[in-house]
Symmetry: C2
Subunit: 491 residues, 2 copies
């Protein structure tokens, strides 16, 4: 029955890796750094996609699809962009294999060499802005509000399932606007959409903010972000939304005629979240018994396990279960009935605990006799016997209650692990002993930021967009600072 899961306190990183594999979320493939997302993991990702896609459409966006490959020359057009991605690009150089002449097997055909190499997209700004040039002539063609769901490749040296993989799945929104203000409003809107999703579906509280210059996306004038805190006190960037100014329009010559009849370059944004969110979801809520899923994203919200010795007992328990299932489904609750006779109830309990199903119902002979069912919550691990007539209402209420409880637990953890400090010594001490977010004054220079990073491994996660704008002195240099910023070690 033992899950043999390393505990978080023993080794958080190991716990995470084991959990992802044991809960059937994902596994490493035979291709370096590329993961296989298994059906259970993918079912969660599909729910995330569906909600995000709905939110994008409600804010006026449409989906489209752009090529996987980017000609090297496109890629090189925006200078800071290519600098940011050149070191991690998978490059296609040939388009044919053949049998080796010496009979040694299949080899790349040297005669099928591409004239220009193709980059497997690490992100699609360049190929998309090359396309937008054809779509935009006049202000009447703007805005373009387009999103794509796609796979992207960044050749990472050190990879971890979901958190950092060579290939990952994501969505990337790419919008084009007539004015600077409209583009900024779009970039801000998408940060809010992301925060809404992550907080209300994933039950993960986030800090909204902007990145410092050195942490910005390659090619952006401003990067808005949402930052979450994991249980080991490390921060995780959960989504970013970039105001790109006219950088890509200039690189790809995308001009439009304004209402006033002038020519101007188009203003751009891009924004994305990825399968990395799966990592954030897992690390925020799960415990030493396995995955804990918020009801809003759980593929199965409720699982019913019959407990029986005889066929008659199974039949009686199944009858109660079927009536419950009908009523729960009528309320839109996703229920699984596991009456497999190949596994014992204890094995099943363990399995669904490991897989984070929010509510487990057990129905045994005693329950049938007494008109009760046993309800177990995954989040609190508490059990309760209740009358079967009350079960549907109770469970419907639990969906909401568990969702809220997970959020408030994570919110409480973050609050407890957010520390304001005044001095660099205090900063270092908190970082080493407690971790989490550390709010500190910073003089606004990349130099100081780099120094802190080199000395402590903490980075500025964001300059929060809250109202806490009290000025002060930089903890490192003593120079004046407009407001505290948030530091943390990060994934």
């Amino acid at each position: 029955m033992a899950k043999n899961l390393t505990t978080r306190s023993e080794d958080y990183s190991k716990w995470y890796n084991e959990l992802v594999i044991k809960a059937d979320m994902a596994e490493n493939s035979g291709v370096r750094g590329c993961m296989v997302i298994k059906p259970y993991g993918f079912a969660i990702w599909e729910r995330m996609q569906a909600e995000l896609d709905r939110m994008f459409k409600e804010t006026g966006h449409q989906n489209a699809y752009f090529p996987l490959f980017i000609p090297k020359s496109y890629f090189s057009k925006e200078a800071s962009h290519v600098d940011g991605f050149a070191k991690e690009c998978a490059v296609v150089t040939h388009y044919r294999l053949k049998n080796a002449e010496d009979g040694s097997g299949i080899v790349v055909d040297p005669e099928a060499k591409l004239e220009e190499e193709l980059i497997v997209r690490p992100t699609s700004e360049t190929i998309i802005w090359d396309t937008y040039r054809k779509w935009v002539q006049s202000y009447r063609d703007l805005p373009i509000l387009v999103n794509q769901w796609a796979n992207v490749v960044r050749w990472e040296m050190r990879t971890r399932l979901f958190l950092r993989t060579t290939e990952f799945l994501w969505q990337e929104g790419h919008t084009a606007h007539a004015t600077r203000e409209e583009a900024i409003a779009e970039a801000e809107q998408m940060m809010h959409v992301y925060a809404d999703f992550v907080e209300n579906y994933m039950a993960v509280p986030v800090i909204k903010g902007v990145k410092t210059e050195s942490e910005r996306f390659a090619g952006a004038l401003e990067t808005y972000c949402i930052e979450a805190l994991m249980q080991d006190g490390k921060a995780l960037q959960a989504g970013t939304s970039h105001f790109l100014g006219q950088n890509f329009a200039k690189a790809f010559d995308v001009k439009f005629t304004t209402k006033e009849g002038k020519q101007d370059y188009v203003w751009a944004t891009s924004w994305g979240v990825s399968t990395r969110l799966m990592g954030a979801l897992i690390m925020t809520h799960s415990d030493d018994n396995g995955l804990v899923l918020p009801p809003n994203l759980a593929p199965d919200q409720v699982v019913i396990v019959p407990i029986y010795k005889s066929e008659e007992e199974l039949a009686a328990a199944s009858e109660v279960a079927r009536s419950l299932i009908t009523d729960l489904r009528a309320k839109g609750i996703r229920v699984k009935f596991d009456d497999r006779d190949t596994h014992k109830p204890g094995w099943k309990f363990n399995e669904y605990e490991l897989k984070g199903v929010p509510v487990r119902i057990a129905i045994g002979p005693k329950d049938v006799a007494n008109g009760t069912v046993e309800i177990a919550r995954r989040d609190t691990l508490s059990k309760e016997l209740i009358k079967k007539e009350e079960a549907v209402e109770k469970i419907a209420g639990l969906m909401d209650e568990i969702q809220k409880n997970l959020y408030s637990k994570a919110f409480g953890f973050r609050k407890e692990h957010t520390t304001a400090v005044s001095t660099y010594d205090e900063f270092k001490e908190v970082l080493e002993t407690k971790g989490g977010f550390i709010a500190a004054h910073w003089d606004g220079t990349t130099e100081t930021e780099d120094r802190v990073k080199n000395e402590t491994k903490a980075t500025i996660r964001c300059i929060p967009l809250d109202d806490d704008n009290e000025p002060g002195k930089c903890m490192v240099t003593g120079k004046s600072s407009a407001r505290k910023v948030l530091f943390a070690k990060a994934y």
Copy 2:
């Protein structure tokens, strides 16, 4: 107002290419052979995906995701498979770019050469069966019923939007079974699921059949297919489902312990449909005025265009429209209201005709005065004035009627363009004068099949799975034939 669309009779191929672009479905990208699927085209594809995905899940399948890249050594493990795909593979050989030492720009870093080349997946049997080896030990682990939605790359020399592109989107199901019979049943089931979708959603009639040996998927023992007929008399393979036997299990050493405790190789199927279906949809129904979409897949099923000169007239028409929209949406009908003042009604009529919206409603001052609306059907191009009180019922009925009409029109066309012949001369004449499907006896040899192909360009589309099993003599060799097979020139 003219659409400047080449007519089908002038040049069918040109008509198709122009239509895809003018109706905002897709366009060529800057990357050879790769298309951009534009928002309108993608909205149709999304509807296709949603219905197919529902059907897959209803038949017990789950989605998962496997790597984009396949190590060359995996790819080479199944001999006929690699033979089938080696000539059209995009190959990743390097993983980094750098600044050229001579300052000439960005170049591939020769030091970042991969030890083993990676193939961009043209299909995923090899990487998936390498994974299944880890998933299967016992008969209890079977069946595996997995699908993935993915992009694939086949380096095609001659490409056409949707019909044949270097990169395309598709779904690929890959299932693993304990017995031969179960795998065959699965492959057949998926052919039926595809036929159900293509006939009932796309309104495209199909012939179900099996491929001849030479037309089979590389690595399959049997390829089930559905074949559709386009308006130019050419056939289009709309979907395939393969019984793979134990070929991939043997190549990747995927064995399991049977109920009886023996070791056996696992039985496999794979099945897929792609964005090629978009081409079939367009070519089956559309006319010289543009796209014609079946209501079941149209992103907008109804468009309402107000006709007005004054603000008062617009307000009056809008009031009628809004009430209609509420009632239509309550019936689950997708309605768009186009009250843009940047375009004239005539321009809009033209636009929605080009884009194939099934029903157009116009509301002008006279309609407001008389309590009528004008309803125009895209499929028949007929118009009708009806009382506004009757509009909702009428339109709801039209959704069904148009869907059926498109199917029966296409069915009639196919019937008219399916000819049974007895002699090879007759065959050649029908092929040249009338085209379409030609039913003829064939002696079952690849030799004869190749001869017909070389001499006429017609191929055997399938050996139909219908009851028409009358034996006869091969039209070419006079040898005995168990039944007629279907020939056609094909896309």
